[in-house]
């Protein structure tokens, strides 16, 4: 398939997943600011902005309104939900001939209906809407697309983004108090709370919750699950018969980070969570770049310059 099309599919996957992940993180954290009286709003908002990869203003008190305006509504802010939704739609438009019509209509409608303002009592509804639209888009692909290269690129993008989002979420650990409730929050953010409770049958402890989100082999938003799925996509895209090693840079980076997480004692990771999660984010970025170099070569776009003399 055309590199350009493949690239679009890869990014559609990433942007859909990003809008979903961002909505989940914001929903739970903004709600927590209301429910938990012991959180310092300004500090929590700053950390939240920073974790989502957004520049933090040096001065002034930040409130949940500011976070909402920046990370949810601002169409020009690269880390915002609005930006992801628009970009997913733009990518689908570029690959319109390959993207299934149902998916295109779904992304197009989402982008068209994206509100410009949300009243503070409606934020939860808005985030629920974003999650629903993302689920719809993913569902359309999962239910109807043949498992060809197009699907593999889409899933590859989704998986990388999921790993990235979960890593950011885990890094929010330092947002709030040192004890239990915030693990509950983090688990709730990625819809893992109830399945976690069923798996561990008990109160969230730092060790168990981190283990679940980092390396559970069955929970689809855990980092190890997402990274493994990305690796599988890469293998399926290019089945190799070599007897040793891997050749692709992306596979190498992903394999390394997965092994690091899987084989490192969990307490080691916990003691150094922000840095470890930064490494996961670096790895997904590097892998993303490597995939770009390998499959979507830019080359020098030929432009007419007139006759050289």
């Amino acid at each position: 398939m055309l590199s350009r099309i493949a690239e679009s599919l890869f990014w559609i996957g990433r942007y859909i997943e990003r809008s979903d992940g961002t909505a989940r993180i914001l929903d739970v954290h903004l709600q927590l600011l209301l429910e938990d009286p012991w959180i310092e709003e300004n500090l929590a908002c700053r950390s939240l902005l920073q974790l989502m990869g957004s520049p933090v203003p040096d001065e002034g008190e930040l409130t949940r309104k500011d976070v909402l305006a920046t990370l949810a509504m601002d169409r020009t802010h690269p880390a915002s939900i609005a930006y992801s939704i628009t970009s997913a739609r733009e990518n689908a438009r570029r690959a319109r001939e390959i993207v299934p019509t149902e998916l295109w209509e779904c992304l197009n409608t989402t982008s068209a209906r994206m509100p410009r303002k949300v009243a503070s009592e409606k934020t939860h509804d808005y985030f629920a809407w974003v999650r629903e639209r993302a689920a719809l888009a993913v569902g359309i692909v999962e239910a109807g697309a043949s498992r060809d290269d197009a699907w593999h690129f889409f899933t590859l993008g989704r998986s990388l983004e999921q790993a990235d989002m979960t890593a950011r979420l885990l890094a929010t650990r330092s947002l709030t108090e040192a004890s239990g409730p915030s693990w509950t929050t983090i688990l709730r953010s990625c819809g893992a709370y109830e399945s976690y409770l069923r798996t561990y049958r008990g109160v969230p402890s730092a060790r168990n919750a981190a283990e679940y989100l980092l390396m559970d082999r069955l929970f689809p938003r855990s980092i190890v699950f997402s990274v493994s799925r990305a690796e599988q996509c890469l293998r399926d895209l290019e089945p190799r018969t070599d007897r040793a090693g891997v050749t692709g840079q992306a596979q190498r980076v992903l394999g390394q980070i997965r092994s690091q997480l899987e084989y490192r004692p969990i307490m080691d990771i916990l003691n150094d969570l922000p840095l470890q999660m930064m490494r996961v984010q670096d790895a997904t970025s590097t892998a993303s770049e490597a995939i770009g170099n390998r499959y979507f070569p830019k080359g020098n776009v030929p432009t007419w310059t007139g006759e050289a003399s």
């Binding site: 520049p55 933090v56 802010h77 503070s120 008990g202 970025s285 993303s288 776009v301």
Partner: protein
């Protein structure tokens, strides 16, 4: 600003003329003025936030609360139709210093009730010492001989209790009744808080409302603590009568938030003196059953033989100490309203303390003199059956018809053991949004307490039930009652004392961690080369973009900014 509370005092005024003492209003010290503005300290912030809203706005929010409950399935059955559980937008506020007293009173009462049950199903010392008559115990409908000798490993019988409190005309707290069988309503406390925070966020601003989400954890810990001795990792289940039970929502919520299995009677079977559940992996042993099924239906071998809600042999397993049934079988004797009248004596007898929260004055009708007085004044008293809960069978004298009073008189004479009488207490009122606008309505409070054997933990808040018809004193959801979110505001006292070192250090450590994270740098999100934010992209890419744009739309040959905006218009049309 005037709009919302206009006409608030109108009904209070008209009732004053009838002579009875008027109710304590929780928000306004002087509720009889038509549009009160001066509030009690606890409600200052809530009033401020509400007063900024118009009535239409608040009604809109109330509708949003209801539709959110419909979507979540927080409903109850009303004449075959699913109605959202009624939640009023105005919260009830209790300040921490006051809450400390309530909390202490509940703890004391639970401990006394535990001691009483252990005594009644054991040595019966209180009977021998003449504190409580033997006939009272043996004549109670809920005293089960089958329960004698069944004790959980940590000696707890009341893992969960819901003791109903009211405030009388002077604003003093009083205990209305004890519920130590299967008190329900805690799920509404949890879901009320969540939906309030989602729909009325501005009320929470600047208030330090103590969270209630910890309840399932505390309950699970208490249930695990009561597991049979020698079981390391107890298997806890919630036993529900089934989907047709009115509290089924609560059963699912608790099982979900505790991460345990929700079982029905048919999922369980008893064999070899143990209880098992049928799973895809074969029989799995059950160690603790948090049952939401009444005693009579629990075990057809011991109680009602026609029950399909329990499992035959369960009580035997409990007696052998192989399974813990929580709350314990036979707790109902402590709920008996006649036992309730002895509670202040029992607290003194078992704990050597005076009751922190007093009872409502009560006549025991077995005493011929009391019976005579009550029969004389039947039209001004409240008469309740001893084994009813939640206002079942209750007769309010001043509101009853002549015929009703005549039947009641006959019933009392026939069975004086079955009834108690109390003076009419005007329950405190809280502003509630009804059809006419914001009006005072009577409310009670059910705080929930969890006993894990070492400590009794009281959920900060509880379920406030409010009677929606004007002047109605019976607050029960089965009789058209609403509910309110209950806020305990202010810092926990131990935040400053014992654990302050941990807490404050924890906060400081977190801040330190945050700045470290800042030092480690922010990881910006990746972008497709074609979707890179314009500001960041370099010259070359802008040129490419422009070229592409030109290719497609020859008209827009302008600057990159212009081509961007045209792309935007393109998308929007």
């Amino acid at each position: 600003m005037v709009d919302l509370f206009t006409g608030y005092g109108a009904t209070t005024k008209s009732r004053k003329r009838t002579g009875s003492a008027s109710a304590w209003d929780e928000m306004f010290p002087d509720p009889s003025s038509l549009t009160p503005t001066e509030t009690r300290a606890a409600y200052k912030d809530v009033y401020g936030a509400l007063a900024r809203m118009t009535q239409e706005e608040l009604r809109g929010r109330t509708a949003a609360l209801a539709s959110s409950y419909l979507a979540q399935g927080v409903t109850f059955d009303f004449a075959g139709e699913e109605r959202p559980f009624p939640l009023d937008a105005v919260p009830r506020v209790i300040e921490q210093p006051e809450w400390v007293t309530v909390e202490a009173g509940i703890k004391q009462r639970v401990l006394a009730l535990e001691a009483f049950l252990a005594d009644i199903y054991g040595p019966q010392a209180a009977v021998h010492d003449g504190v409580i008559p033997a006939s009272l115990i043996s004549s109670s409908n809920h005293f089960h001989r089958q329960a004698a000798g069944i004790v959980s490993a940590n000696n707890v019988r009341i893992q969960v209790s819901g003791i109903d409190l009211i405030r009388d005309e002077k604003g003093a707290w009083r205990v209305l009744e004890d519920n130590v069988r299967v008190p329900s309503g805690v799920s509404y406390v949890i879901s009320n808080r969540r939906v309030m925070a989602q729909t009325l966020p501005e009320l929470f601003v600047s208030m330090r409302v103590r969270p209630v989400g910890d309840y399932p954890n505390k309950l699970l810990q208490a249930l695990r603590a009561s597991a049979p001795a020698g079981v390391d990792d107890p298997n806890v289940v919630v036993l529900t009568p089934g989907v047709f039970n009115s509290a089924y929502f609560e059963h699912t919520l608790l099982a979900r938030l505790m991460g345990v299995e929700l079982v029905e009677g048919r999922d369980l079977f008893c064999s070899g003196g143990r209880v098992w559940m049928r799973t895809t992996a074969g029989p799995t042993r059950v160690d603790v059953i948090y049952r939401r099924v009444d005693d009579e239906f629990l075990d057809p071998l011991q109680f009602r033989a026609d029950s399909q809600l329990g499992s035959p042999g369960m009580l035997m397993a409990a007696r052998l100490g192989n399974v813990t049934i929580a709350n314990a079988v036979g707790n109902g004797v402590a709920d008996d309203k006649l036992v309730y009248t002895y509670l202040p004596d029992l607290i003194r007898y078992y704990l050597g303390e005076d009751a922190i929260i007093p009872n409502v004055d009560t006549w025991r009708l077995e005493d011929p003199l009391a019976l005579e007085e009550v029969l004389d004044r039947l039209d001004e008293l409240v008469v309740k059956p001893v084994d009813g809960s939640g206002g079942k069978g209750l007769v309010v004298g001043p509101a009853a018809s002549k015929a009703e009073l005549a039947t009641l008189r006959k019933q009392l004479l026939r069975d004086p053991r079955g009834w108690i009488a109390q003076p009419v207490v005007q329950l405190s009122t809280i502003p509630t949004l009804v059809e006419d606008g914001m009006r005072p309505r009577h409310a009670d409070l059910r705080p929930f307490a969890v006993n894990d054997g070492t400590d009794v933990w009281v959920l900060p808040g509880g379920l406030t039930r409010v009677a929606l018809p004007e002047g109605e004193l019976v607050v029960n959801s089965s009789q058209g009652g609403g509910s309110k979110d209950t806020w305990v505001i202010g810092l926990e006292p131990d935040f400053y004392h014992e654990s302050s070192a941990r807490n404050i250090q924890g906060l400081v450590a977190d801040q330190a961690a945050n700045t470290q994270a800042t030092a480690a740098g922010t990881h910006p999100v990746d972008h497709s080369p074609q979707d890179k934010p314009l500001g960041n992209s370099d010259q070359q890419e802008q040129q490419q973009q422009q070229q592409q744009q030109q290719g497609r739309q020859p008209v827009s040959a302008g600057a990159p900014a212009a081509s961007k905006s045209s792309a935007q218009e393109d998308r929007e049309c």
